[in-house]
């Protein structure tokens, strides 16, 4: 546990109070099991998503900095966000204020108009996934598993902002959630598109762009015979889940891939009831897939020759030198 006094400042972000309420419900249920204490920042505001930075950078930084200033008043230096976009904005603002003295000065001048101040570097901004994996650890999580997700083939979908540009794991081929899901007993499929883009706000602006990006991810998860896609971000969940029908219509495909949050998977493995985890609020229903838990999983399709196939050349290990 790296947080002093085991407490974390919690920044939910707007989605978790609306379209991603299932994420918050399941996260809170899981955190209780893991005995992590999250204290919601009082009167937090929106992080501006990707929109505010496009228009006017100083108000955008100031908007985010208000949250940092409010969080810094709490008796902890750990600030946690479950939404990847919120996490990035909070962390980017802290980082850029640290890098650029002029920005720090200007943002603090704006904050002063509201009687606030933020000293960059005060908080350590983290994503919920990183907190659970790094501070709790695989072993402690494994100890809480009462109903392993055996038989379920899951595609771990990280999306962009949890691993880029601030690298909490490899920015190209992260694996820390893979290991988490394995600890929960699931079969994790190789998933080359795991850190590719879900389309972000393009679903609102340019469907041509967004639906193709969503299609690629669904296509890849289906090709690797995943039963469920697991996400760490409300935007990713929304795009892959809510627009799956549109994608099917546009491309004549028949994807039927439920998209759940990693906290929902943890809750299921901890033996919590699906309803308590907000399962059922996804637009592509997950129940049929979840019924596979406990059954014998389908065999993983082989993509690489075995080391001792008669004629085959040795396959290099994945381990770096």
């Amino acid at each position: 546990m790296t947080a002093p006094n085991g407490q974390y400042a919690y920044y939910p972000g707007c989605s978790l109070k609306a379209s991603a309420s299932a994420y918050e419900r399941s996260a809170m249920a899981v955190l209780e099991r893991l005995e992590l204490r999250f204290v919601e920042i009082d009167d937090w505001n929106c992080c501006g998503a990707t929109e505010y930075f496009s228009l006017n950078r100083l108000p955008a930084y100031s908007l985010v900095a208000r949250n940092l200033a409010l969080a810094a008043a709490q008796p902890t230096h750990e600030l946690v966000a479950p939404c990847s976009a919120c996490y990035l904005n909070l962390r980017k603002t802290d980082d850029h204020m640290r890098q650029e003295p002029k920005l720090k000065e200007q943002v603090n001048r704006a904050l002063a108009a509201g009687g606030l101040h933020y000293e960059p570097g005060t908080l350590r901004v983290r994503h919920l996934l990183d907190v659970i994996i790094d501070d709790v650890g695989y072993e402690a999580i494994a100890a809480k598993v009462t109903r392993p997700l055996a038989g379920l083939r899951v595609a771990p979908y990280y999306g962009c902002l949890v691993v880029r540009p601030f690298e909490s794991d490899d920015p190209e081929y992260p694996t820390h959630m893979d290991r988490l899901l394995e600890v929960l007993g699931a079969t994790v499929v190789d998933f080359p598109m795991k850190a590719h883009c879900c389309g972000g706000h393009m679903t609102q602006i340019s469907e041509d762009t967004a639906f193709e990006l969503i299609r690629r991810i669904l296509h890849n998860a289906a090709a690797y015979q995943a039963d469920v896609i697991v996400t760490v971000c409300p935007m990713c969940q929304l795009n892959l889940d809510a627009y799956q029908g549109n994608v099917n219509r546009r491309f004549g495909t028949a994807f039927n891939l439920p998209v759940l949050y990693f906290t929902q998977m943890m809750g299921l493995a901890f033996g919590l009831q699906p309803e308590a985890l907000g399962i059922g609020s996804e637009l592509v229903p997950a129940q049929a897939a979840l019924n596979k838990i406990g059954q014998v999983p389908a065999e993983t399709p082989r993509h690489t020759p075995k080391r001792r196939d008669k004629d085959a050349l040795p396959m290099p290990s994945r381990q770096r030198r």
């Binding site: 009167d43 501006g48 990707t50 505010y52 496009s54 006017n56 108000p59 883009c197 972000g200």
Partner: protein, 189 residues
């Protein structure tokens, strides 16, 4: 080289408005950015080309390009750039400059951003239903039909709130944003 306000070139202004932007000088024109971009095929110039154009001082062409507006903020270009150029952040800078000069072509992006920010400035929180309605009503009323179906589904699942939620201390946030805008207005972009 055409110069802007205060005798600074377009290139210098772009670099100075972007944290870590100095590394733009080291661009190798390798195309890692354009190759990695998920929306690359939709862009009229690859990011790499924009950088060459910035260096050539082609301000009007750069700020009229649709490229920054297709950026989905995935940061693949940023982490893959061999010269550690903060490409995604440069795209934010260009969008801002384009708005300041009234140069962008595809208004959809800007108006969506504006709708979003309007909500935030009013309530301190974003409000998905209000956003969708306002944005699509002004832009693409026909789309409201399909979006409306989706919205209904979402509401049935309890994922779309019919009413906006507001923060308590709106006056504080307004004061902060007003001051930030005032400071921003004093500087050229």
């Amino acid at each position: 080289m055409p110069e802007g306000p205060n005798g600074r070139t377009f290139y210098q202004r772009v670099v100075q408005a972007t944290p870590g932007g100095k590394s733009l000088a080291q661009c190798l024109q390798c195309g890692s950015c354009g190759g990695s971009c998920p929306s690359g095929p939709d862009m009229d110039h690859s990011p790499r080309q924009l950088f060459a154009m910035i260096m050539a001082g082609m301000e009007d062409e750069v700020l009229s390009s649709n490229t920054p507006w297709h950026c989905v903020s995935c940061y693949y270009c940023t982490v893959r750039c061999p010269q550690q150029i903060p490409i995604t952040d440069l795209m934010y800078t260009l969008k801002q400059m384009a708005i300041a000069r009234g140069k962008y072509r595809e208004s959809g992006h800007v108006d969506f951003s504006n709708s979003f920010i309007g909500m935030v400035e009013r309530f301190g929180r974003s409000f998905e239903l209000g956003l969708a309605t306002r944005y699509h009503l002004t832009h693409n009323p026909l789309k409201m039909v399909s979006k409306g179906t989706l919205g209904l589904q979402m509401m049935v699942k309890g994922r779309l709130s019919p009413l906006p939620e507001s923060i308590r201390n709106m006056p504080q946030l307004t004061a902060i944003l007003t001051e930030a805008k005032r400071i921003a207005a004093q500087q050229e972009v």
